[in-house]
Subunit: 352 residues, 2 copies
């Protein structure tokens, strides 16, 4: 099965599962669920139906395709796939407040329309809805034993996500960040959820623990590649594609991989003065476009962009080797595997 | 068993369960879990151990005592009791931001020390930790069937809490709120969690569904009495006891039961001019101490305080009748029941 065929088949099912999970249960709560529905790209600010960008539903696709590839019934993975996407969207709601980001998918972020207090609470509601959606696995015909394993994996990942977000924010208030700390942070903040998507997919196919681990490591490596790609776009991305201002991560003084790598390089080469100048420029970058320009020049000199692109390629290769290991299991569904592989490859070189 | 004996027995166990659930798993995350530990009353702002006010751990006590009263093993309820307390504390973290409250239990609220972005995320971490703690029921020896029922009850309540918080905040931006809307809001925001505490306690004792329902309705009615008492304290409370400024709910323009009742009275008596004056004074109360004084006078004239005190007494009576129904079950533990009854009664007439 080609990726486009898989998307055509599964995306409407995923979207239906998501809409059912976030449907308004009572007219008095129309505003509450309306904010969720706006955030998901289904309505405008007056809660009228629109076709707005929804995001690519990558995580649920990884979950459902991992289930199929591991020989399971994709229908069994639907509630988990939806839960993972709701969890991801909850974290975006809160991230946009925490990062002071006014735009999400080319539209005003929820907090810019309804304010921070309501948006914190809407995020909490989506967090709760994600757990309730995981709870629907039993009704989808999944045996209790697998429901319980999937729920544990999901719970652990929720906590890991917040640990990653903590590290990310704490990096902003520290002058220096080491490479290994940075990789831990993106593993927790981004890669863990993709790893959980493929892990839970394989779990729900009742794959053996080695195979479940291989799918998880595949997803995690894809997540690392994905996040480093995002770091590249955060500095050198084109606003038209990303919906975010160019060099935004520098203006926000986010310490992403290009900067962390450059700092490590300057340290290794014994250039403390250059390192101090870089940090000072970075501090000034919030309000000074000239400083942003100088930072970009230093990153280029250090070869930061090339390094990051190599990292993306390496994690992608690692991902494919884990997938090849997973594919060794008896009962592997070749069509699902092919679509999953194509999905992973489609993430490299993406523009947004 | 007397209540003080029950507190002496169970509180240290609850506290140990809470500390285990929120222990720092890695030195790099000391700041993240440290913020949780500060909020729980275990450390100061430098993360050094202190004995600060922790709150009364009412919800976990209700859970454990309901389990004992229904004939179960209280040890089986400990993870659920801790999960409920963590959930409650997560909601306080976010509520303090949403309500712009600088104090929590006589100390600076987390957001005033570490800022809003970190506090949103710490709350999310506690939310996730609450689910993980519920997930420990199986390890405590609870059969899978009961774990699953308890998890569902817990998940539903999480979503209900956020619905209640939405209604509460949306009332602030509307001129008028009806009595029945208001009661729905406090049911969702406060009473549901106490009802869930006693419901899950009885569930984990494997009580029959009628008895589980009676414990739930008992807890819910206690929660209603508790919240209306809180509304009374929010306007007529003494700052020394509550840790919050007097008449704070008026200055914050919160529409709590005394105001909602007074509005309903003025409407019923056909006094639109008096109603309009009250609403105008309430709008002005944020910055005008004279307006607060005038609002208090109007509430007194309408008999709002007496009405609220009667409501507290009625819900308390309702709670005791549900408890009497629950006590009819064979296998009821009389000592647990007595302590539970005493705990409910201790909430009436509380000062903070």
């Amino acid at each position: 099965m080609s990726l486009s065929r898989a998307i055509e088949r599964y995306l409407p099912q995923i979207e239906a599962e998501l809409r059912a999970a976030l449907a308004t249960p009572h007219p008095a709560l129309a505003g509450f669920y309306g904010m969720m529905q706006y955030h998901m790209g289904w309505t405008d600010q007056s809660f009228q139906p629109v076709q707005a960008p929804t995001g690519k539903r990558l995580r649920p696709l990884f979950c459902v395709l991992a289930c199929q590839a591991a020989g399971g019934d994709p229908a069994h993975a639907m509630p988990a796939a939806a839960a993972i996407e709701i969890l991801h969207n909850f974290s975006l709601l809160h991230d946009d407040i925490e990062d002071n980001s006014p735009l999400r998918r080319h539209r005003p972020a929820v907090w810019t329309i309804w304010g921070i207090p309501q948006t914190i609470n809407v995020g909490d509601g989506m967090f709760a809805a994600a757990f309730l959606t995981m709870g629907r696995l039993a009704a989808a015909g999944v045996p209790a034993r697998l429901c319980s394993l999937a729920a544990s994996a999901f719970q652990e990942t929720c906590l890991t996500l917040t640990e990653g977000q903590y590290l990310d924010m704490s990096f902003e208030t520290r002058p220096e960040v080491e490479l290994d700390e940075y990789l831990w942070m993106i593993q927790a903040k981004t890669a863990a959820l993709l790893g959980t998507a493929t892990r839970i997919g394989a779990l729900l196919a009742d794959a053996g623990s080695d195979i479940v681990a291989a799918y998880r490591e595949f997803g995690t490596a894809v997540g690392m590649a994905f996040q480093i790609q995002d770091d590249i776009l955060g500095i050198w991305g084109n606003e038209t594609f990303t919906g975010k201002p160019g060099a935004g991560d520098i203006a926000q003084r986010k310490k992403t991989l290009p900067l962390v790598y450059t700092m490590a390089q300057l340290k290794q080469r014994g250039q403390p003065a250059a390192l101090a100048r870089l940090l000072a420029l970075y501090e000034a970058a919030a309000t000074d476009a000239g400083a942003i320009h100088d930072v970009l020049e230093i990153l280029d000199d250090a070869g930061a962009r090339r390094y990051c692109e190599e990292q993306v390629a390496e994690y992608q290769e690692l991902a494919l080797s884990h997938l090849a290991r997973a594919a060794g299991a008896p009962g592997t569904d070749v069509e699902g595997l092919q679509a999953l592989r194509e999905l992973a490859l489609s993430l490299v070189g993406r523009q947004a």
